[in-house]
Symmetry: C2
Subunit: 385 residues, 2 copies
Amino acid sequence: MATSLPRGFRSHVANIGMKDSTDDFTLVVADTKCAAAGVFTQSRFAGPSVVVSRAHLSDGTARALVVISKNANVANGPQGLADAHEVVEGIAAAIGCKPNDVLIASTGVIGRPYPMDRIRAGLATIPKSIVGTDAEAIARGIMTTDTIHKIAQATVTGSTARIVGVAKGVGMIEPNMATLITMMFTDAKIEPAELDSIFRRVMDLTFNCVSIDTDTSTSDTAVILASGAAGNVDGAAFEAALHDVALSLTKQVARDGEGAETLIEVTVDMARDGEQAKRVAKSIVNSPLVKTAVHGADPNWGRVAMAVGKCNDTDIDQSKVVIRFGEQEVYPRQVDAAGLERLSAYMRGDDVVIHVSLNNGNASATVWGCDLTDGYVRINADYTT
Amino acid sequence: MATSLPRGFRSHVANIGMKDSTDDFTLVVADTKCAAAGVFTQSRFAGPSVVVSRAHLSDGTARALVVISKNANVANGPQGLADAHEVVEGIAAAIGCKPNDVLIASTGVIGRPYPMDRIRAGLATIPKSIVGTDAEAIARGIMTTDTIHKIAQATVTGSTARIVGVAKGVGMIEPNMATLITMMFTDAKIEPAELDSIFRRVMDLTFNCVSIDTDTSTSDTAVILASGAAGNVDGAAFEAALHDVALSLTKQVARDGEGAETLIEVTVDMARDGEQAKRVAKSIVNSPLVKTAVHGADPNWGRVAMAVGKCNDTDIDQSKVVIRFGEQEVYPRQVDAAGLERLSAYMRGDDVVIHVSLNNGNASATVWGCDLTDGYVRINADYTT
């Protein structure tokens, strides 16, 4: 039973031959101009798609969103920007709107110009009447090396409004204010300014808390479009539903990290402030030694102590820190041989939860990541060749 | 032809059964109390060995240095500190000096108490007359999972003074103010205050610029002892010779990183300041996507652009950045198919040099690291089991 788009949106998903025969051209069109918000990579090598979409979102509205996968169109100089504008203008002409109501996202290899002949041919095949409503096709159309498509939905309590989100991304993932590519669609009616502030809060607690490999992409793009077809909703209920969708997508992204076999969730609590909690949690979830220990179910919990220790805040005191895996305390309580056995068995599960209390304040943060495997090395040692 | 210690030092290297039959107990004794300096990990989980050595170095002198390998004695609570004091007191009694003239370093697994019965038996076997002068034996005695021992030496220009340094460390290596364990010995005569400032400057340009895996150890210790037996030396000549020794050891550490097959050297120049240059260079050398691309000789230079871009300083401008591999410019100059072939061939070498100019100022920095391989994952997925 395929997930459909919320009311007010239609889609066209196709293969235009970017790399192979899988879908690589994804267009979502709203029936009318709608409220829109987005957050983007902070990279200083941000691509033209990010530059164009950021500008086109400045008025808080949009009509269409196109995603080209298998080529990021990044680091291609002035030609890259000209190509992005040409794509957006082509979409605008095909669906009958202004170019600045079209958003664009791209993902794939860096430093290769768009094959514009193939893209022009693809633009020419956009049907006059766009009728697709299958959100799963959208989730698949934006994939690159993802092994599964990522999709989530929720209904806003007290209304008939739905939120449907899709995401892609398996590597070059430690988003900073955004993620590789995620798109969310809702038929809730919500003003652009409120949509923007809700979206940023939710992204900060979800996609900005995931890291596959510490590498922030040049193409990170997260957008939401609200068609309004379901009428008004309660703001708090909408935020809660959006959080559910974004959290589900975040975990799907972490679990499908390149080569990943285990989802790692790290919570740091009783920290001085949220910034400290998140920084310590990221230090743990990004440590290659923690990630490989989880991969091998090696009960080497000392590596978590190491990862806490390298956050050298003077108010982190090893005599106050408590470290747990799941429900099992491993520090400061000494772990005996039976305890190491139990810990190793726990680490063989699909999910490993690491919990650190700094006993230093009241703030907390949770982040997500994955184990580091031979598969990660193999995938990335021969990506372009 | 084995490298010998400089004049004024003797050593005793033995196996005391910490884990297997390889040497794991290394003691270096100066004929008389000598000038000494050290830098240590900034980790908040620093071990008792670091705590004790830092305190014992506060007067700028030392008589002896003991290294126990295969067990880090970290995160063992008050017992760990008591055990470290017992070792130091045992050494002091054996050689006839005060405990606070003895330095100690430990390296190995975290969170396992010292096997004190075996260590006490080892202390009892220290000979009355210590006569060893083989520095290679010292370099081997401090190894854990190192595949080769690391040693370097230099002569101070204009004198007969020598500097001999040894180091160990293959993982949990992104030193912050120190490195896993490195020890340098010289017969130059040099005052403690001058020795300390020279040592810190040299460490900042060498060991503090290496990263195997972004993980800062709890046990990092770098010390130098100067016996004075060769008389006075020129300070600048001494600093130059010390830099040669430390740089050689730094590169030996990078090349022997866990699972490493390729040494990566990254220079960032024309940066706003040294901090920015080093931060961008570290971002490149630590990127798992850059490290795996080097491993696979995948000419995916766009990952270097990504790693520069994620340092989101507003004064990094992609239109001014120049990226080179060896002598080959890959950005902004477009790389054609023949250029990608040439780049891949270059990346199959033992050393890969990445050079980035920010065109943003006059500062520069060079850092060292290694590729990320299946071997790294295998080594670390089953370290303790």
